[in-house]
Symmetry: C2
Subunit: 625 residues, 2 copies
């Protein structure tokens, strides 16, 4: 898709009239007096969480935002492969794929040895290694990501709309056995109050919610200045449509990020060291300064800037808070969290690795299913401790990564293009968002049986692979079975050694009183409502007879008790999942996948008791009806 040719216009580029490119957004009327979850902040983290909860008719949610309406022009733009996988779970990845700029190749530029005032290309790297994800790395204005979430919320069961123009003025934890936090909001000079079981602060680096729980961002002083500008420009720099890292001899660095619509481009421009405690805003840097600096770095290439939809200057630092909820570390055994923070409220860093929006959304994706499961009575509230534990560790890695990456780019000690390129390649899986690894916990198993499925690493995101659906020979991605619907998946890969294993497993899961599917699914609900069983066979689909499969794999669902034919899969002969994911062909295995697409456990096919124990540790039986 091509757009923004005649100037940046916000909203949906497929709508011809700029005045109609975004619908009105925002709830009318006051905020509700009581909700299950109050989300503070309509950024990527807040909207990821709101979108998840909005799908649940039995969970009440309110999302408030200080700004008066939807974002039209955002600052973040990088969307990692892992985030695209999550967008697929939410159901709008195809819209992002269509509209975003794909980052296919990253190139590296250094000073020309013969003419050091000029830059020359020193290397090219495929941006994402083959097979790392079924999705590319893309770039799209954060405002459009907001739009997709707002659209999803509006279409959802609860038709959730943000309450704009709300500023949090006070947060009062529950008192005297109460279970609700009381949040006071200021709206057009009036005061509103919401009482919420849980409050989540997605309110950015200056988070009021974070402050209310006595936490702060700590980290390096910010002593390096950068400028950033989104421009429509004419240049003969040949890699202007690639991600390009340019390190000049003496003028500093430029990072080129091509943007959606084939014309727009973002340039990050190094402005140099700051004095200790100095703020770059004080330097009165103008857009003309930025352009002039970019030109000097890009020499001998010309840069003729035609339009500047957005620009800014900033200093970078890496800051992190110590815990993402309101429970002090030494009280976790005795107290349950009620107030959480996510995204920039927890961690801030430089924008140039394209990580910020991604990590923030993954924070919320991690928290969303946990909150929903607890509120719906499916899981014990101790589960909520795992949010801070898991995501604080990820944020720590992010800060470490960013510190090293920012130092390399800032070329404080003289640019080293070879080192930069080498670090970029080594960090590929990290920047793609696929390197996140949760350690063993209440919800993540030990790796005793990891050898049964070497490619489904326990604690890492489920690495999807193509398969063939048995019932209709449709080529699909197995990972796409994992929607953002709060359900666990049990993926049973059947070995070739024992043809009766499938029937025994289904007998256990379908009939045994200790089956987690039996125990944790409410009577009258569809059998896959809480835990969704899928089977993957080794045979080609022609070799299998659907009519001889256990009924648990052809469950009857809904008002008419219709068969669901979406539970059984066969390998795609062009990319056999047993081969590519290292699944033990003889023994097969069971892979448990969390609602946020992470591998929770790998177990032998006949490890019925360990399978049950995994769920028993944190799930609750529904009340008898």
């Amino acid at each position: 898709m091509q757009f923004h040719l005649n100037g940046f216009e916000p909203g949906d580029p497929e709508i011809f009239d700029p005045a109609e490119r975004y619908p009105a957004s925002g709830a009318k009327g006051p905020v509700p007096a009581e909700v299950d979850v109050l989300i503070v902040g309509c950024g990527p983290a807040g909207l990821t969480l709101a979108a998840q909860l909005s799908a649940l008719p039995d969970v009440t949610c309110c999302i408030v935002e200080q700004k008066p309406g939807r974002m039209l022009l955002g600052q973040a733009d990088g969307i990692a492969c892992r985030t695209m996988e999550m967008f697929h779970a939410f159901g709008f990845s195809e819209r992002v794929l269509k509209e975003a700029c794909w980052i296919n190749e990253t190139t590296f530029w250094k000073a020309d040895d013969a003419n050091p005032q000029n830059i020359v290309r020193s290397g090219r790297v495929q941006d994402v290694e083959d097979g790392l994800s079924e999705f590319p790395h893309v770039v799209l204005n954060q405002a459009r990501v907001h739009d997709f979430y707002l659209d999803l919320m509006r279409r959802s069961a609860t038709k959730l709309e943000p309450h704009y123009s709300r500023r949090v003025t006070a947060i009062q934890p529950p008192r005297d056995g109460d279970v609700r936090v009381t949040v006071t909001l200021e709206h057009d000079g009036q005061t509103e109050t919401v009482r919420a079981r849980y409050v989540v602060g997605c309110d950015g680096a200056r988070s009021t919610v974070r402050t209310s729980i006595g936490r702060e961002l700590r980290g390096d002083s910010a002593n390096h200045a950068w400028g950033v500008m989104d421009v429509l420009a004419v240049t003969d720099f040949p890699d202007i449509r690639c991600k390009a890292l340019i390190q000049s001899a003496h003028e500093g660095s430029v990072l080129v990020i091509p943007r959606e619509g084939d014309y727009l481009v973002r340039l990050y421009i190094e402005l140099g060291q700051l004095e200790s405690g100095e703020r770059v805003a004080k330097r009165n840097i103008t857009i003309e300064d930025l352009i002039a600096k970019a030109r000097r770095i890009l020499s001998p290439y010309a840069l003729d800037v035609k339009q500047i939809p957005w620009w800014s200057v900033y200093e970078i630092g890496q800051r992190l808070t110590d815990k993402f909820d309101d429970v002090p570390a030494d009280e976790c055994a005795t107290r349950l969290p009620r107030i959480f923070i996510a995204g920039d409220a927890c961690h801030t860093h430089s924008p140039k690795a394209g990580q910020g929006m991604n990590v923030s959304m993954q924070d919320a994706f991690n928290l969303g299913w946990k909150l929903a499961s607890v509120l719906r009575g499916r899981c014990s509230p101790e589960l909520l401790h795992s949010y801070s534990a898991e995501r604080r560790a990820v944020a720590g890695e992010l800060i470490d990564f960013d510190r090293e990456w920012a130092a390399l780019l800032a070329s404080t000690h003289g640019p080293d293009p070879a080192k930069t390129q080498s670090y970029f390649i080594r960090s590929g899986r990290y920047t793609a968002g696929t390197a996140t690894h949760y350690g063993p916990s209440l919800i993540t198993g030990e790796s005793a049986h990891q050898n049964l499925a070497k490619g489904f690493v326990i604690g890492e995101r489920f690495h999807s692979e193509r398969v063939i659906r048995l019932a209709d020979a449709k080529p699909v991605h197995l990972g796409h079975a994992v929607k953002a619907d709060g359900r666990f998946r049990i993926l049973a890969f059947f070995g070739s050694g024992d043809n009766a294993a499938i029937h025994r497993l289904c007998d256990f899961l379908g009939e045994s009183p200790s089956s987690p599917i039996r125990r944790y699914t409410r009577g009258g609900a569809d059998i896959d409502a809480v835990i969704d069983l899928r089977a993957i066979f080794q045979q080609a689909h022609h070799a299998l007879a659907i009519e001889r499969m256990p009924l648990l794999l052809l469950p009857r669902k809904g008002r008419y008790a219709l068969y669901d034919y979406d539970k059984m899969f066969c390998p795609d002969p062009n990319s056999d999942i047993f081969e590519t994911r290292g699944i033990d062909r003889e023994r097969g295995c069971v892979v448990i996948v969390r609602p946020d697409q992470y591998v929770a456990h790998v177990l032998p096919l006949d490890a019925y008791q360990p399978l049950a124990s995994y769920f028993d540790a944190f799930m609750l039986e529904p009340p008898q009806t």
Copy 2:
């Protein structure tokens, strides 16, 4: 996507509330007094045409429909690969891919030799051969196709909405040198009049527009009765999610068509011979009769029907009109067409090959760019004769195909599953919509140089292939450069024998007074506004320097004269277009692609004069400004 589990609901299944699944549709107020094009009928043909024209701010268009509002439940459902390619040109293929049912495999069932009252599977066939199209064969309710077009129209430059509840009562051709047809409409008991330069009747088998030009559908008497039902049902028939052709020993045939949402299925049920002149409606066949018949044919499998969103009975015949416009065959040299017909107004046949909606939309896709080009002064009106010439021939083939296919399925002379399967395979390219071949004409060249690109057959649709975009290494489909925007494409494939060929061709196209790009593009317009040049090189993208390319391949466009980086491509090493499409590696070639994605010509790279002559035959120079 799974939906319709608890019963069929019309509209967008991604919207939770059924009451909000389709927006209001329809223009308010009276029809305009004068338009360039009046389209009669809001079916697939009418909407395809309207969607094309709605994108053009300089063409006025009105579409009227007898029914009071948008269709919620349609009868057609088959969407051929070729149609998906067209949907991509319109920009909504990804929505259809997501929502539709994919037909991956077709299975064949016959009477069991041992127990002739039972059926057994006799064969399986991959539904579409590998590599025939980048899109699958899918099935989706016609009403949803309408929705996508209506959405496109609403978002377009002209925000076109249908005028519903309009019945055509009279059509008066132009008189005394007038250029407008006068159409009288009845609306809520009132009379409205529209004067249109062109009128297109997309008003179905009982077309008023067809009658007004004195044409009629002629063909076989309809003497075979069928029933059809869309159902939610429980069955142990194992191929219920595949397209299945079932020919029982004595009870007749059933055709199973799985439908979108994973639960719905359509069954076509053979009801037997009719007396000469008999109408099936007179037999008072009930839905219970249909179900009972289907059960007998499906024996030994059970069929428990739970909901029936739609059912019907009909007799089939093949009928065709002799010409698709208002000019008698013997007056083509002296008269220009003003009134056209398309779709079911021209050809009717059985529904079971899934061709009807597809051929109708291709009729309109063929006509749309021609009407637009003439109205915009780009092409001479003689071009309009080619519509009837090209599409009447296609309709004739359709009728022939359908007659044979219907006879095979109807098993009038005893079922012959082997013959049915063999015919199905042989007809694969035809049913996929890719076999259409336009003969040489004003707009379709002779095949003297076909050997330069054996895989781009002159007169057939451009068979897309993956390529790598030079500027950013993005993997794209070359055919997806051809949008439904009325532009011609010149695709220049460069040979390895002469590296200067690219500069010479661009010199000619960019500078020569006889260059069609120079001649037919209005001064001040973007250089690719009428004819869009793209280049495909043989080298890998790493081996080419974008900065040394001719400026015609990096055109400057729009208000800011920005570079357009979307014009140059390299082979995808995994599927080299020079190899897969049989392009002469030494000599290269030029391929001209029509606005409706058909290959217009294949010429040597240096055949400048023949290239110019191709366009000179039907294009008009813009007025001097």
